[in-house]
Each structure stands twice: as structure tokens, then as C-alpha cells.
């Protein structure tokens, strides 16, 4: 079984490998965002190289990836900030670039970098934003209350009369979030919303996001904090070199990555090749050693492999030292993706390091 399943898409609970589902009217209405074959160039550089993506209404979807993976370009294309070079994109049933003005009242956008007029105060900035908005919260009758509530929610009330250029980086990010969310959008784009924030501000940010999510807002976000993605997102996609390498719910993504059993073989134990044969490792499993006797079994079925290993140890009367068994973590999936070569968009087999032994007992 391959360690990763590049180009895998999950749509309406059906997972398909390497065969993105064709767009259909039904899917367009059930998804808040649909992108098919999305490609974006900067001059001759292809930043996004054929992304297929769907985000269901009411879902929190996290786009992960290393720096330069194409996350922000993908996000900004979906926001309508740039035109796709090719491919089909629909956001809330609209073309985000050509129908930008129709889309804007329904979405909130938090850019990767804050964009403010430094000489306006915090309160003036929010007021300007509301005056440019057509939402109910921005109406003259509600405006003052909306500003007060928004500043309170992210603890910027005490900075209301401060010019934006005098805010700290974290305060500017919180002001960014206020502008993105103050109109209670149907769809919220968050580009690295917690980068540069202290833990308390991060928590407060996610509180705001979760409140919106509970009210039905669909959220597409990028982040470098995997634990945040794991805690917040219904589904994730990991981008690498302009492509989506892995996508699915957290359990689905983790299931695609092998679990790991580690143990130290005692002195006098059989060789690793013998052990491989004795354990009857399947083609989905392999065993590696670090050269100092610490063995690792990578397996797709942790329970079964562990049972066989313990049974073998009991039968052979071997005591396994330093035994541990762990499910794969999102960080491991991320690392596996980030070492893929740039032109890899088919599957990868085994990215493990030295002394890899496949089930047939041949050293790799």
C-alpha cells in the first residue's frame, strides 16, 4: 500500500484516487467552492499546477503546505484577486474573478499580509470598511453597535483611537480578522490568520472563527500550525509544489499514512530478515532498523501487526524492549509530502530512510 495518495479527492463522502470528479451542476450547488484543474502562472513560473478542490457548505477546510507550495495563490484565485490561467473555479456558484462584485458581499477575506492606511485609527478603519459594505450589520442604524461589538470581541476596544501604524503585529492581525468577519460572511477566507499571534490571541481568533462556523459560515483557511488544522478543520489538503498531494478528513489522511511499532530486539534475536518472514509481513508493511537494534514496523493495520509481533515474541520467548505503537500524526504526513520531488504528482511508495527492508526481506 502506498504511503501517500496524491491527487486524491473526497467529495460527498466518496473518495477517488487520481481521478478528480468532473464538475456537475449538482456538485456546484452542494459545494461552496469547487475548483477543477486550476492552474496559475506568474510569468513562466507555474505556481499552481492543476488543483482540484471542493469545499462543502458549512465546512472548515484547511489548506496546508510548505512555503511556496501555492496555498496563497490558490486562495487568492478563489477570492477573485487573480484570474486563473486555466481551469474552472466556482465560489458560491459564481466565477470569483469575473463576478467579483456579486461575490464580495457574501465573503470575508483575511489577507496574508495586513493592508491598512496607517494614518487612520482602528475605529476609523472599521467604520470605513462598514461604510463600504452593504450588509445589515453595516447599516447606519447598526454601525456604531457593530463597531463596538467587533472591537470588544478581539479586545481592541482600548486601541480604538490609536492609529493603525502604531499597532503591534498581533493587533493588526486581529484588526484584519475584524474586517474579514464584521459583515458575517457566508464564506470566510483566512490566509494564515494566526501567524505572529501570541497563544492567547490565537485562542481568541479561533473562538471568533468557531462562532462563525457554528452560525453556518464556510471557512477556507491556510495555516502553518498543524495542530490548529487538526483541531479546527473538517477536512484538509496538503499542497506541495503547486499541487494537492493529500486531501481528506483528518482520519482519512492519517489512515493513508502507516502507523508505527517500535521495539528493541534483544541480544540473540533472529536477524531482521528472519523476523520479516516470521511475522508474515504483508506488502503493505515494512520493517526498518536504525543499525543499533531499534526496529520500526510501518503498518496500515496497527492492531493486527501488533498482535502478530507480540504473539511471535511470546512464542519465541523474546522480550521486546522500548516497545511503542503510535498512529501516524499529521506532522508525519506533512513531512512525507514535503520531501516529494517537485514533479511528483503520482504516488510515492516508501520514503523511509536507511536500512529499509521490504516484506520480501530485500534491503532497499
Amino acid at each position: 500500500m502506498p504511503l501517500l495518495r496524491p491527487e486524491r479527492t473526497v467529495d460527498d463522502g466518496v473518495m477517488t484516487d487520481n481521478h478528480p470528479l468532473p464538475p456537475s451542476p449538482a456538485k456546484h450547488t452542494s459545494n461552496a467552492i469547487t475548483a477543477t484543474g486550476l492552474r496559475c502562472f506568474y510569468g513562466t513560473f507555474e505556481a499552481v499546477r492543476g488543483v482540484d478542490l471542493s469545499v462543502a457548505h458549512g465546512e472548515i477546510f484547511a489548506l496546508l503546505g510548505t512555503n511556496g507550495a501555492g496555498k496563497t495563490t490558490t486562495l487568492e484565485t478563489l477570492e477573485g484577486h487573480r484570474a486563473a490561467t486555466s481551469g474552472a473555479v466556482q465560489v458560491l456558484g459564481l466565477d470569483p474573478f469575473c463576478q467579483r462584485r456579486a461575490l464580495r458581499p457574501r465573503v470575508g477575506i483575511m489577507l496574508q499580509e495586513s493592508g491598512f492606511a496607517g494614518d487612520l485609527t482602528v475605529k476609523e478603519t472599521v467604520a470605513l470598511w462598514l461604510r463600504l459594505s452593504s450588509s445589515e450589520a453595516a447599516s447606519p442604524a447598526n454601525r456604531a453597535r457593530t463597531i463596538t461589538t467587533a472591537l470588544d470581541s478581539l479586545e481592541l476596544s482600548n486601541r480604538a483611537e490609536t492609529r493603525v501604524q502604531q499597532l503591534s503585529g498581533g493587533q493588526r492581525r486581529r484588526l484584519d480578522l475584524i474586517l474579514a468577519t464584521v459583515n458575517r460572511p457566508e464564506l470566510l477566507f483566512l490566509d494564515e490568520p494566526t501567524t505572529g499571534l501570541d497563544p492567547e490571541s490565537r485562542e481568541r481568533t479561533w473562538d471568533v472563527v468557531q462562532r462563525l462556523h457554528r452560525d453556518g459560515t464556510t471557512i477556507l483557511l491556510t495555516t502553518h500550525y498543524l495542530e490548529e488544522a487538526e483541531a479546527m478543520a473538517d477536512r484538509i489538503a496538503i499542497m506541495h509544489h503547486g499541487r494537492i498531494a493529500v486531501t481528506g478528513s483528518i482520519p482519512e489522511v492519517l489512515a493513508a499514512q502507516p502507523a508505527r511499532i517500535r521495539f528493541q530486539l534483544p541480544d540473540g534475536a533472529p536477524s531482521i530478515e528472519t523476523l520479516t518472514t516470521s511475522l508474515r509481513l504483508s506488502p503493505q508493511e515494512n520493517i526498518t532498523t536504525d543499525g543499533r537494534g531499534l526496529c520500526t514496523i510501518n503498518t496500515g493495520d496497527l492492531d493486527d501487526s501488533l498482535f502478530r509481533l507480540l504473539s511471535w515474541a511470546r512464542t519465541q520467548d523474546h522480550r521486546l524492549h522500548r516497545l511503542s505503537a503510535t498512529e501516524a500524526s499529521l506532522a508525519e504526513v506533512f513531512r512525507s509530502v514535503s520531501i516529494l520531488p517537485a514533479d511528483s504528482h503520482t504516488n510515492t511508495t516508501n520514503n523511509n530512510n536507511n536500512n529499509t527492508v521490504n516484506p520480501q526481506g530485500v534491503a532497499a
Binding site: 489577507l111 493592508g115 492606511a117 496607517g118 494614518d119 463600504l132
Partner: protein
């Protein structure tokens, strides 16, 4: 009825101009001081009223409109404020109009002050005010279009001092050149074209083909930069 979005952006922009001392000096106090000096020194240098009207409008337009639009667009782009505005509901036209309108309003206010000052100093009224108006509108719009275009190619507010020099030289230089010479091809340049129309407004003889060339030149200096600016406009800094 709620305020149009461009007006909301304009009011905010006026507030920003008022709070930025550098822009405030460059766009208001400096041109006003220059305007007063030109009136004060008129008799000493033997300059006629048509020439003074020409220089006032040219200098005010260059400093208040051209340079301010160039620096404002560059600064707002680099601050990602243009991108921020574009993340909202405003149309591209409303955003640009909102940034340019306060500068034009500022210019008109300055010209009104100077016109009153010139009236007090005994300035004569042009025989054909329409020609003066056409020339002034043409020159101001060409400066605004060139301001947007120059802003597109200006990497920073500091660099605007260099990138603005070519048009500044062409526009102001050709206006000054027109004070000294009457060659027909001066009208091919914006300042020269405006000078032809100002002179004609004050009754100096100009053939219809010369007037047509001047008007056509100002239209071209507006439309061509505007089209190029539209095609090359960037809402965020080049990465």
C-alpha cells in the same frame, strides 16, 4: 440614501492627506506659496496675465494632481491598502475615483483661492473662457492619467521623485517653452497645447488647425496614458 462608495473613500483619503505632513506640504502649502510668489513677482519680470494663468494652472496641477496621485497610489499599493479595498464591495472604478477625486477637489480649491488673489491683484478676464476651461480640463485630466500611469511603474514613494521627473519636465517644460516660442510642434506636448489654448482664450490669434492640434494633443495625452495605465494597473506590489 447612503453615500456612494467613491465618496466614502474620498473622504477617508482627504483625512489621510490632512494627516500626512509631507503630502500636505507638497499638495497644498508649497503650490499656494508658489502661486502667491508668481502673482507678487509678475510686474518685476514683466509677465502678462495669460502667462501667469498658464503657469499657475500648470504648477498647481503638477504638484497637487500629478505628484500627489503618483505618490498616493504607490503608497496605498505598497501598504496593500488598494488590495484591502479590492477585498471589499467597491468596484475598481469607485476605488480609483475615490483616490483621485480628493486630489482634484484640492486642486480646484487652490485654483479658486489663487483666482481670487489674482482678481484682487487686477487680473483680466479671458475673452473666451470656454477655451481656457477646455484647456485646463484637458491638462488636468492628462496629468491625472499620467499620475496613475507613473504610479504603476513607481516602486516606492521615495522613487516617485525620480519616476515623476520625465512627465514633470515635459509638461512644465513645454509650458515654459511656449512662453518663449510659437513653433507649432510645441502643441504636441501637454504644457505647450495648454499654452496655445490659454493664449487663444486671451485673444491671441490662433488658427483653427492650431486649436484642433492643441485639443487633440491634450486628448491623446489623456487617453493613451489612461489606456496603458488600465492595462498595466497593479493592485498590489510586484513580488
Amino acid at each position: 440614501m447612503s453615500t456612494p462608495r467613491f465618496a466614502t473613500i474620498s473622504l477617508s483619503e482627504l483625512r489621510l492627506i490632512a494627516r500626512n505632513k509631507t503630502v500636505l506640504m507638497g499638495a497644498t502649502l508649497f503650490p499656494l506659496a508658489l502661486g502667491v510668489f508668481l502673482i507678487y513677482s509678475r510686474e518685476d519680470v514683466g509677465r502678462g496675465w495669460p502667462q501667469l494663468v498658464l503657469l499657475q494652472i500648470v504648477f498647481f496641477t503638477m504638484f497637487t494632481v500629478y505628484l500627489t496621485i503618483t505618490t498616493t497610489l504607490t503608497t496605498r499599493r505598497n501598504d496593500l491598502f488598494l488590495k484591502r479595498l479590492r477585498s471589499g464591495e467597491s468596484s475598481d472604478v469607485a476605488i480609483l475615483a475615490g483616490l483621485i477625486a480628493p486630489v482634484i477637489a484640492l486642486l480646484l480649491a487652490q485654483l479658486a483661492i489663487v483666482a481670487v488673489a489674482m482678481g484682487i491683484a487686477g487680473a483680466t478676464i479671458p475673452e473666451n473662457s470656454l477655451l481656457l476651461a477646455v484647456g485646463a480640463i484637458g491638462f488636468i485630466t492628462s496629468a491625472a492619467a499620467m499620475g496613475v500611469l507613473t504610479g504603476n511603474f513607481t516602486p516606492s514613494a521615495a522613487a516617485a521623485q525620480v519616476t515623476s521627473l520625465p512627465f514633470l519636465t515635459i509638461a512644465a517644460g513645454s509650458a515654459l517653452w511656449a512662453l518663449l516660442a510659437t513653433d507649432w510642434y510645441i502643441a504636441l506636448l501637454p504644457g505647450g497645447a495648454f499654452a496655445v489654448l490659454v493664449n487663444a482664450a486671451y485673444g491671441h490669434s490662433a488658427g483653427p488647425e492650431q486649436l484642433l492640434l492643441a485639443v487633440g494633443s491634450l486628448v491623446a495625452w489623456t487617453v493613451i496614458p489612461a489606456l496603458i495605465a488600465y492595462k498595466t494597473f497593479r493592485w498590489e506590489p510586484r513580488r
